[in-house]
Symmetry: C4
Subunit: 336 residues, 4 copies
Amino acid sequence: MARTKQLPQDISNTGYTANAGMQRIMNRDGSLNVQRKGLNWWQRNSIYHTMISLSPGRFMLVVFLFYTSTNLLFASIYTLLGIDKLQGIDPVSGFGEKFMQAFFFSSQTLTTVGYGHISPKGMAANIVASLESFIGIMAFAIVTGLFFARFARPRAFLRFSDNLIMSPFKESAAFMLRVISAKNISLTDVQAEVTTAFEVEEHGKKSTRYFQLPLQFSRINSLALSWTVVHIIDDKSPFYGLSLEEIKKSNLEVMINVRAFDEHYSNTVQQRISYKGDEILYGARFLPAFAPSEDGRSTILKVQKLNHHEKLEETHVAAILEKIKLDQGKSVEAKA
Amino acid sequence: MARTKQLPQDISNTGYTANAGMQRIMNRDGSLNVQRKGLNWWQRNSIYHTMISLSPGRFMLVVFLFYTSTNLLFASIYTLLGIDKLQGIDPVSGFGEKFMQAFFFSSQTLTTVGYGHISPKGMAANIVASLESFIGIMAFAIVTGLFFARFARPRAFLRFSDNLIMSPFKESAAFMLRVISAKNISLTDVQAEVTTAFEVEEHGKKSTRYFQLPLQFSRINSLALSWTVVHIIDDKSPFYGLSLEEIKKSNLEVMINVRAFDEHYSNTVQQRISYKGDEILYGARFLPAFAPSEDGRSTILKVQKLNHHEKLEETHVAAILEKIKLDQGKSVEAKA
Amino acid sequence: MARTKQLPQDISNTGYTANAGMQRIMNRDGSLNVQRKGLNWWQRNSIYHTMISLSPGRFMLVVFLFYTSTNLLFASIYTLLGIDKLQGIDPVSGFGEKFMQAFFFSSQTLTTVGYGHISPKGMAANIVASLESFIGIMAFAIVTGLFFARFARPRAFLRFSDNLIMSPFKESAAFMLRVISAKNISLTDVQAEVTTAFEVEEHGKKSTRYFQLPLQFSRINSLALSWTVVHIIDDKSPFYGLSLEEIKKSNLEVMINVRAFDEHYSNTVQQRISYKGDEILYGARFLPAFAPSEDGRSTILKVQKLNHHEKLEETHVAAILEKIKLDQGKSVEAKA
Amino acid sequence: MARTKQLPQDISNTGYTANAGMQRIMNRDGSLNVQRKGLNWWQRNSIYHTMISLSPGRFMLVVFLFYTSTNLLFASIYTLLGIDKLQGIDPVSGFGEKFMQAFFFSSQTLTTVGYGHISPKGMAANIVASLESFIGIMAFAIVTGLFFARFARPRAFLRFSDNLIMSPFKESAAFMLRVISAKNISLTDVQAEVTTAFEVEEHGKKSTRYFQLPLQFSRINSLALSWTVVHIIDDKSPFYGLSLEEIKKSNLEVMINVRAFDEHYSNTVQQRISYKGDEILYGARFLPAFAPSEDGRSTILKVQKLNHHEKLEETHVAAILEKIKLDQGKSVEAKA
């Protein structure tokens, strides 16, 4: 009870729901755990956003499938019009062979390679071919645009530590995560914002409350090396006065949003992650991930050591939290 | 009279006119209800903006019309030069047939498919063909650029409730609208700004005055679910002390501007809407549009329930407003 | 003398020089009146910026000249290799005719139209043709990029009044200019910043001093209609206490910078103008440039009335300024 | 000792390491002197960023190598399938000649020039050709995107003086550097941020401390001419009370970050530089780099005079610093 009084101001305008019991607010990859119902696929999705978000392999596959199916479609049309309307075609007999030749002519038209050893003859075939080459360059224009958009899409390429860990920190305990820039990108003016959601039971009813976690440093000039984002459990923390057991049982979720200025794009990039349940390690400490180079002339960032940590006794952390709780009790008594 | 004293500071620098009687300041879709006169189409319109704003179907149509008309133009030129300058052409007699063959050759040149079963012969035809293929790749370059610009144009894809509704809210009444993100786009740092315009009669002359409406929350972290934007009618509201009749007669218009950060584009997007006259429902209350999924593992946003509301008696709202007016009168008296 | 005391804080960090006597700091179109010496053209210019800034006609011309000269170059190479290396060519005798055929073959290769009635024969011609088609698609890629960049370049399309005018305003006088958005572009959050430069004589030495001019409104929500930017000559103005003669002799330059948010691009656009000497009208008043439409359903912005003003007697303005000067003298005396 | 008390607040959240002895934090060109280990090339580098950062020559080379190697690959495939599958080929005997013809056919397919005097025959060759032309247009789409991205990449094109210099300034000494905009680009709202790192010995242990250097002007309206960025050594400076010898021995590094608004791109651009060791001149003064033009109608910026300076006696500067140290001692005594 003493505890509830201590809860700092929560954020009621997160845009999330306060219904308790939800498994996860944000997925591990930073996307929201929300499903949209009542709209069909086209209304619900921006094709552009979908094409931009596909992995490179899948994107190439989609484009290739479009290429193949468009060729199949036009090959069918040419076959229907009569294969003799494609002059220069090899004199073949089987339907399959005829269709394949139509397919190849189609691909030559769609890509505008147009060798010309096969060419359309007569009104109908010429109109279809003229249309197909038009579709070809339009499709190509769209794909070029998509390729560029995929390339140019500002991304942070951050790597977060696998776990959020809790360790003793100065006179108290702290939640910590580590983040590095995985690629040859210069990120400056890097800012982290950490939000937590946990269940609070009031008047016998559980609800999810949201808190902004104050950070030791919420901004660094440059993400040159690894950055350990630290939330200290002090009297400004919503965890202040909770025991380790209580924290673990609160169905805790910690969401991190990192924004930075990418000098290449001259643009702001952003990446999110969320930690929940067994992704949080209680009692562990990160070990350094960088060191001077042997010749002392530069610093080496050992990316594989991003998750490098040592385990501590959970009881050790529990004891610290217990002590904080005790101190708090005293200070409340003192005030009274 | 007591009322006019209570009017909060209006905004005189909206960029809109203070002429009363105008039907609408902003159209429903957020565009301004202003016509530009005294410039021809080219001076008045940015072709680029026009091409970007066209619906996908209309855009494709414009491009297809350009393709067809350019082919018609060049087919005419080739026909004028003499159809015999196109070697490899089928020996045809009718003008129509000749023209069509010239048309097909033109399309093969413009799309650079260039089968070659027809090819230009002699100086003039070669020069024209050389120019046409140049125009073809230029036109294609432009269309590619436009496609990309259309794709990459940052858009919010917000859906607003059909109506602005007025309902009892806490101890007072409030104007409310609801907004959702219709597509698979992650919008963070979402901000709403609501401006109202209504007619005020002073010294017997009507003029339109503009007010910024204070909101319960003007910013949410993430537009994950539905957001109900709420303006409470309290002593900071320009509606404070007005009866329902007075509000209805004031030729009210409410304009909403929502800005958000789109994580895909790393860009700020913006969308507007305006409500006027019968788009405002007096006496209604929104009903929830989201619920936990059956397995409790995620939240479901029911987009079709965006407008889901229950009707209330208008007299109920009128009574609340009357009571506010009364309270206000008392407080003014108390001060005096 | 009394006057100099009144000069508000000038801005010493404009980035401009304080050398008096310079004809103009900023050109009328907003570009800086500075020449860079000591670098060659390539070091001094960004080709990209140059290509983007060219007028549409000049840009097309540059591209067409590149197309023609590249064809001339390759036609020369094919002619040098021997015209018989281009099989399918018409049997021609004159050098001119041979060269032209090589030119046409080159254009068919560069645009990748490749009819094929002419084709390269032998090693050398094939290598050159292979290289030319590669150059063709590269050049086309560059041109596509430039077209897009030209299209997508955020521009404000503002129109400023031809003159900066000075008119009586409320109890004082004011400098005014008028600005409209000429195209179908929605500009919101429009901000103006006005800087003035004039010569001050101190200790017998003239120097140029820079001042920010405070504005009646420096920001409007939306540039829906015309916006009159107004600087009132009050005690915060650097012109306070100057006579009309003194202002006219001070080699005055007024530079305006307007920034706005373009909703189409979701980007900030900016445009500048500078007024100097006879572009400033002393004694004039702008007349309205917009009116309700006949049916009262919308507002009409009459763009051709952007400069619509009535002339006033200069002596009238001079008298106002003289009165201000007098008041100022009194207030200084009163303090003493 | 008196000195250490005077050290202003250092910045602990730079994102750099505090390990002393490192040769350089930032390289001269503004990139960070950090190596990433433990990731392979693909994980460590963004291909996109790499392609964007290549010099124009190297980029063209990479694209040309891709073109050539793809042609070699497909030429090999066609040769393996049997050169007779390419109809229209010259009847040649040697392997080399056959391969070259396959190579030329490949290049005609990849660039979609497709003359057609050579064309694929039979299933296998047609499939490969169909695939190659698809790869061709895809590759071209990617290259177009990269070209545009390279063009459109916002860059500042700043030139910094070769040296950071220290000179007497007003009653004290100052660090200065000079910066100009080298190209025809209009940069406004230019801001400089200067960070310094030097070694401090505390309790016998050396560590690197970081300080933000206060500037005389940290922002100018427009980078029209040259801008001399000045840090004055006063009581807010971390160098306050240090002798010249101490400064020189502190393994000093000065990092400058300049941000500006590029009006062409309507975007923020940024450029950095770092000075260390012998790039710092103690005892020198910049000489003017611009002058009015002969006709007095504009200002000339002499870019080649960016580094124009005169040498001063180092002892002169040392004396000034010594005097400051003395003054400081006195003021400390006075307080005591």
